[in-house]
C-alpha cells in the first residue's frame, strides 16, 4: 500500500496528516501576524511594502492550510480564531515579538528554509489537494527567502556593529528554531506511513541549507540545545498578547460575519 492509500485508509494516519497541516497553518498565521507589525515601521518604504506583502501572503497560506484541515469537517475561521492559545501548534520562534529589523530578518531566514523543506515533503506526499497547494506555495516562498537572504547579507556584512547585532539575533533565535523539529506522536506515524523521514533527518537538511547563507556572512552557527514546546501547545506570554489582539474582533461576536 503506498502512502497516499495508507493515509486514506487509516484514520490515525489521517489525523497525523491533519496535525502536520495544522502546524503549517499556525506557523504561517503567527509569523504572518508578526511580519504585518512592521507595516509603517520598516527601515525604508520599499522594504516596508515588501514585508507587508510577505505578511499578507503568509496569512493567505495559513487560510489555505486551515481550509485543508477544515475539509474534514470544520470552519477555517474558527480554526484560526476560536481556539485557546494552548491549542495552537506553531513553533514558539514565530510568536516572538519583533525585536529589531535584524531579529525579524534572521527569523525569516531560518523559517523560510524550514518552510521550503516542509512544502517539498508535502508536495511529494501524494495527498491531493494538499500536495498541489504545497507546489503552488513553494513559488511564493522562494521570493520570501530571496528577500530575507538579501537583507541578511547586507546587515551582517555591512559593518562591524551590524555583524554583532545579527550574530546576537542568531544566537537568540537558534534554540527555538530547533523547536521547528519538535516531535510528537504524529511525526512517528507520518514517518511510518512514508510521508516524511525523521525530524532529526529533516533538521540536518535544514541545518545544511541555512549554513549556506549564514556562513558566507561570517556568522557563527550556534550550538545550543533546542527550546521546544510549541508543537505541544506550550506557548509564551508573548503569544497570549498576540492571541488576544488577533482574536479581538472575532471574540466580540463569534457568530457574526465580518
Amino acid at each position: 500500500m503506498n502512502s497516499a492509500a495508507r493515509a486514506a485508509a487509516d484514520p490515525r494516519v489521517g489525523a497525523a496528516f491533519r496535525e502536520w497541516l495544522l502546524r503549517a497553518a499556525d506557523d504561517e498565521l503567527i509569523i504572518g501576524h508578526r511580519h504585518s507589525e512592521w507595516t509603517g515601521f520598516g527601515p525604508d518604504i520599499e522594504s516596508d511594502v515588501a514585508m507587508s506583502s510577505i505578511a499578507q501572503e503568509e496569512i493567505g497560506h495559513a487560510r489555505a492550510f486551515y481550509a485543508q484541515v477544515a475539509a474534514g469537517g470544520g470552519d477555517a475561521d474558527r480554526l484560526a480564531f476560536a481556539r485557546a492559545p494552548a491549542d495552537y501548534r506553531h513553533a514558539t520562534l514565530v510568536e516572538r515579538e519583533n525585536d529589531g529589523w535584524e531579529w525579524s530578518i534572521v527569523r525569516l531566514v531560518l523559517y523560510e528554509r524550514y518552510e521550503a523543506e516542509r512544502l517539498r515533503l508535502l508536495s511529494a506526499s501524494g495527498q491531493e489537494p494538499a500536495a498541489g497547494l504545497a507546489r503552488t506555495l513553494l513559488r511564493e516562498e522562494r521570493y520570501h527567502a530571496l528577500f530575507a537572504d538579501a537583507w541578511l547579507t547586507r546587515l551582517a556584512r555591512g559593518r562591524e556593529e551590524g555583524h554583532r547585532k545579527v550574530q546576537a539575533a542568531l544566537d537568540a533565535a537558534w534554540p527555538e528554531a530547533l523547536g521547528f523539529f519538535e516531535a510528537t506522536d504524529a511525526d512517528a506515524t507520518l514517518e511510518a506511513a512514508g510521508f516524511v523521514d525523521s525530524p532529526a533527518a529533516q533538521r540536518r537538511r535544514w541545518d545544511a541549507a541555512v549554513r549556506q547563507v549564514l556562513e558566507p556572512c561570517g556568522l557563527a552557527i550556534p550550538s545550543a540545545s533546542p527550546k521546544e514546546g510549541g508543537r505541544r501547545g506550550q506557548h509564551t506570554p508573548e503569544f497570549d498578547r498576540l492571541h488576544d489582539q488577533m482574536t479581538e474582533v472575532w471574540r466580540s461576536d463569534p457568530e457574526a460575519r465580518w
Binding site: W101, G158, D253, R257
Partner: protein, 185 residues
C-alpha cells in the same frame, strides 16, 4: 476600518482624481496608478461596509459609532472653506489645484451621503441636507480652528504617532548605514 476605507479613501479619491490633470507632471503621472488602486480599496471597503451594515445589530451600532467618530475629520479633509483658504486662488491659477476645496467637499457629499442613507444609517450632522432643486448640500460648519491645530501636528494622536515613527527612524540608522557600506564595498 470600514469607515476609513470607504469614506477616507473615498475622500482621497475626490482630491487625487482631480489632481490627475494638475500641472505638476510627476505627480499627475503617478496618480494614474494610485487612483486605480484607491478605487480597489474603496470596493473592498464597501464590501466590509455592507457586511457590517447587513450584520448583527451590534455590528450596525459599531458602524454608526465609527461614522460618528470620523465625520468631522471627513468634512475637514478637504481643507478650509474657499472664503478663508489662503492659497487656493494661486493654486488654481497655476493649476496645482484643479478644483477648489468646497467643490471637492460637495462632490464627496453627493457621492457618499446616499450610500449612508441607502443602508439606513444616520449622517452624524443633523444640519446636513440637500438644497432644494440644486445638486448641493448645506452642512453644519465644523470647527476650522481644530483643523488648523491638527495640520500643525496638534491632533489627539499626532505627538504619539510622530514619536513612534521617529523612534523607529533612529533605531534604523545603523541599518541605513549598513546597506550603504555593503553597496560601496
Amino acid at each position: 476600518m470600514a469607515i476609513i476605507q470607504v469614506f477616507v479613501d473615498g475622500a482621497a479619491m475626490q482630491t487625487q482624481g482631480a489632481l490627475r490633470s494638475c500641472s505638476y507632471a510627476p505627480y499627475a503621472r503617478v496618480l494614474k496608478r494610485i487612483c486605480y488602486e484607491e478605487d480597489f480599496h474603496i470596493q473592498l471597503g464597501l464590501d466590509v461596509w455592507r457586511t457590517l451594515a447587513e450584520g448583527t445589530p451590534r455590528q450596525r451600532a459599531m458602524l454608526q459609532d465609527a461614522l460618528r467618530r470620523w465625520w468631522t475629520p471627513l468634512i475637514h479633509f478637504f481643507g478650509m472653506p474657499d472664503r478663508v483658504s489662503p492659497h487656493t486662488e494661486k493654486m488654481l491659477a497655476w493649476r496645482i489645484k484643479v478644483k477648489s476645496n468646497e467643490e471637492l467637499r460637495q462632490q464627496f457629499l453627493r457621492r457618499f451621503v446616499p450610500i449612508i442613507l441607502e443602508y439606513g444609517l444616520e449622517v452624524p450632522d443633523p444640519g446636513l441636507r440637500r438644497v432644494d432643486g440644486e445638486d448641493r448640500y448645506v452642512y453644519t460648519e465644523p470647527d476650522w480652528e481644530e483643523l488648523k491645530r491638527v495640520g500643525r501636528n496638534g491632533g489627539p494622536k499626532s505627538a504619539e504617532r510622530l514619536a513612534l515613527r521617529q523612534r523607529f527612524y533612529r533605531q534604523h540608522a545603523w541599518v541605513r548605514e549598513a546597506v550603504i557600506q555593503w553597496a560601496a564595498a
